[in-house]
Symmetry: D2
Subunit: 285 residues, 4 copies
Amino acid sequence: MNRVFRLVISCPDRNGIVARVSGFIAQLGGSIVEANHHTDSENQWFFMRYEILASSLGNDLEGFKTQFSAIATEFNMQWQVNDSASPKKIALFASKESHCLADLLYRWHEQDLPGQVACVIANHEDLRSMAEWYGVPFHYVPVTPDTKPAAFAEAEKIVADYQAEVIVLARYMQILPPNLCADYAGRVINIHHSFLPSFVGAKPYHQAFERGVKLIGATCHYVTEELDAGPIIEQDVVRVSHSQTVEDLKRLGRDVEKNVLSKGLRAHLEDRVLILGNKTVVFNA
Amino acid sequence: MNRVFRLVISCPDRNGIVARVSGFIAQLGGSIVEANHHTDSENQWFFMRYEILASSLGNDLEGFKTQFSAIATEFNMQWQVNDSASPKKIALFASKESHCLADLLYRWHEQDLPGQVACVIANHEDLRSMAEWYGVPFHYVPVTPDTKPAAFAEAEKIVADYQAEVIVLARYMQILPPNLCADYAGRVINIHHSFLPSFVGAKPYHQAFERGVKLIGATCHYVTEELDAGPIIEQDVVRVSHSQTVEDLKRLGRDVEKNVLSKGLRAHLEDRVLILGNKTVVFNA
Amino acid sequence: MNRVFRLVISCPDRNGIVARVSGFIAQLGGSIVEANHHTDSENQWFFMRYEILASSLGNDLEGFKTQFSAIATEFNMQWQVNDSASPKKIALFASKESHCLADLLYRWHEQDLPGQVACVIANHEDLRSMAEWYGVPFHYVPVTPDTKPAAFAEAEKIVADYQAEVIVLARYMQILPPNLCADYAGRVINIHHSFLPSFVGAKPYHQAFERGVKLIGATCHYVTEELDAGPIIEQDVVRVSHSQTVEDLKRLGRDVEKNVLSKGLRAHLEDRVLILGNKTVVFNA
Amino acid sequence: MNRVFRLVISCPDRNGIVARVSGFIAQLGGSIVEANHHTDSENQWFFMRYEILASSLGNDLEGFKTQFSAIATEFNMQWQVNDSASPKKIALFASKESHCLADLLYRWHEQDLPGQVACVIANHEDLRSMAEWYGVPFHYVPVTPDTKPAAFAEAEKIVADYQAEVIVLARYMQILPPNLCADYAGRVINIHHSFLPSFVGAKPYHQAFERGVKLIGATCHYVTEELDAGPIIEQDVVRVSHSQTVEDLKRLGRDVEKNVLSKGLRAHLEDRVLILGNKTVVFNA
């Protein structure tokens, strides 16, 4: 993998943005290795993402930022530029079910996840040995109805201590308090075990079984204050039939869940996901 | 295709049903070419479907029925036995959109649909020439808020005149009155242009676009009095992205709709779909 | 659909191409509504496709061409710019099987195909009435081992008379002569009824059945002199099982074939497919 | 999960098999909870699989076997009956790549694999710590061109010592000697990293990249003496595009490989796979 700077921009749409940005990069001798654009014509909003070879810019991220900020101001851009050599730090929140956590830890361990797992925070002790085998610090933060505010304050402090930039709810099964959603807006990723907006809330596989659907699914989305209603990053489904029990649905669903979560998280870690309102633009490779 | 008798049974579960039924068929020298069983352990209900070579039973459907009825009574069965040489007659209900109607007419014309299209009933004239090219009688029955009861009485009379056994709502866009749903319970098949239970009701593609889902779908189901809530026969989805407009969703969705409808209808026509409560057992080949 | 000019470029890769092209368009006040780039790092080759709002360029295609040619020369580009208001003319080649032809004619009739069906050329009379119902001229050009050169000369003349720009082999079942492949290189599209490179040549469904594969597929590709070996545009598969006969495979395969062909053809008609060697770049929307 | 006896039969087709078998079971008071039949009309061969509640047969497997053998002889059956309470023992063969091994060990550890992992045999030491964390004995059996016969003799001895009934090549990357294939015919399961019969042999992802396919896949099959040509149990694919490198194909492929292998192995462990010639009947739930 070549080291790249990932420039991600969203701004009001108008003519000449691409010309201005690509002209600026050309002037610097920058070599663009991947480029994506999207115009949301309904909202008159423009999105772009460039991967620029770091070496072609002298590996000088700060210099690039300084020079680019004038253009950003001119076009009223929300923007960021990130260095692939500085992968995002991740805090994994887990409970008792291991499949999503195990999958993410494994991928990270195999250098197949473009991020850095900083810690696991769990409200049960069950998954401690798994985390520790991977050499990841495990923090047990129990949550009870009474201790909820204190527990989440502690969890948020741990996240901050590790300077984690993204929180992943790997089947965490607890509803985050509004302030945590707000503090990490666009940076908390959940996996919901249904094809949203079907089967919001608890026991979606039971709901799916009762309704008799012929496909079940999973949804990776950003967490917002409203339960299971945040911007969707990725979804997938698997076929089921009348012969499958709720237990079968759970088993088949686990594979979908972990695949969808790892795919959505990968997109986030590579700065491929841009948010506008309650929807996402996902610039897949 | 060999001529077969399709024996379809559902009854309270108990030991010995398969032995009794298969023993009876063996005694007659019947040759079973396809067999499916399912036990719904939650409801203690048993389902089975056999395809028996008609020639092995002397092509005598009525004789088989008479002899089998004693077993049926003994086991308290709901049952039917149908002759593949007498395909079910179909009444196709359509409106203005042609993709589902065109697909079903084409498949029937190519002898790729195991049923007999008897007539098209439409509340607009737009699709008359298409139906007539295929040699299918076209009945224009307009529906307005004022004329609704009379219009549906007329439509139901046409269906009865053709002795149609199944009604297919090929993007008909009108809500059937409760009495018609009741008269043809388990025999009215609809295609809904979403992945139910997501996006019930009007404009599902607009709803899907607004929610920002990453897959859109279609659902083939039996019509019941409650809108879009009947037993699901078949569903499928297709991947979409941020770059697709509502018009793109409609275009991509049309292909899913027609494929799901023809697949669900095929299953119904071959007596592969059994209903229990609000769910289906679908014995796919 | 807004009228757009589609600018499609491939050239040796070097820095500054995007900046130069987008700068040029910005200077003209051109509004880019869709943009795709790809760098083939193995071959050091660059590909791009822009959709530019025609009105933003004063609807002046010829003017744009003239002005752009200097840049094209400078960067050694293979390029074209096409007007969405001038859809490509299509010659459909068919034989006896109707599913692909029927599907394309239907889509074109519903204005769902971004091209213009100019004629049908067939080596059998079977599909004449279908073509004629759609108002498309039907040319019967029989092919026998003896008459092959003359027949293809006649077919090529018909294509030329209609000024057709793309030839679609809609299950044509004849092998085109090398000179026709050469004359229309990159413009003859075939649908092969297997998941290439598996099951090249005749009777792929029989081959698939014999091998006992669990998925069957179809491949849309450009025709080259070597049979079933040209650049692949699109592929898809469908699940099959031991219970399916060769006839079932054919039936299930027909749906895959027509979907894959129409999808691949749509991409070609919208100038989304670029060829390098024996591979394609497909800029899907 | 209820304890069941799995009765699996294949024999020449003739009338009355189902009646005889189900009648026999009914006589014993056996409760059939899952039933599948298949007739291969080409080869006039019949296949069936029953799951019978063990408790309904007094948990007496040996008694059932003794009584059933008369029927088996009468119908010239190949048959077995297995107890779900005695899961098959598995020997996992691995090399350096961990994704398939890790996936199977994880599933087994989570009691999500209906078998018993007995040991890991590997020709490299890389995966020792992973196996040992799961408490599975790890045997390092290096293979060099010179030591091949001795190495495989040692490996086969280890398999025999553990009384392993199935060998899984979890990306083992070595070609088994003919005698081992023969000794464990129908009991050695491989995962090949292509959609067979495309891309037999070495470096299938490179082959796929060179050919420019739009889907890549994986194939789970029984190993026979002929490389990558044994009976196929399960296959699946994933979509790729021009923008993906060989490394991307490998990464995407790993997920398909492990899913296909675990699905195929699960079917084998549950006695759902029957072999006839070079093809399989897979009775999926």
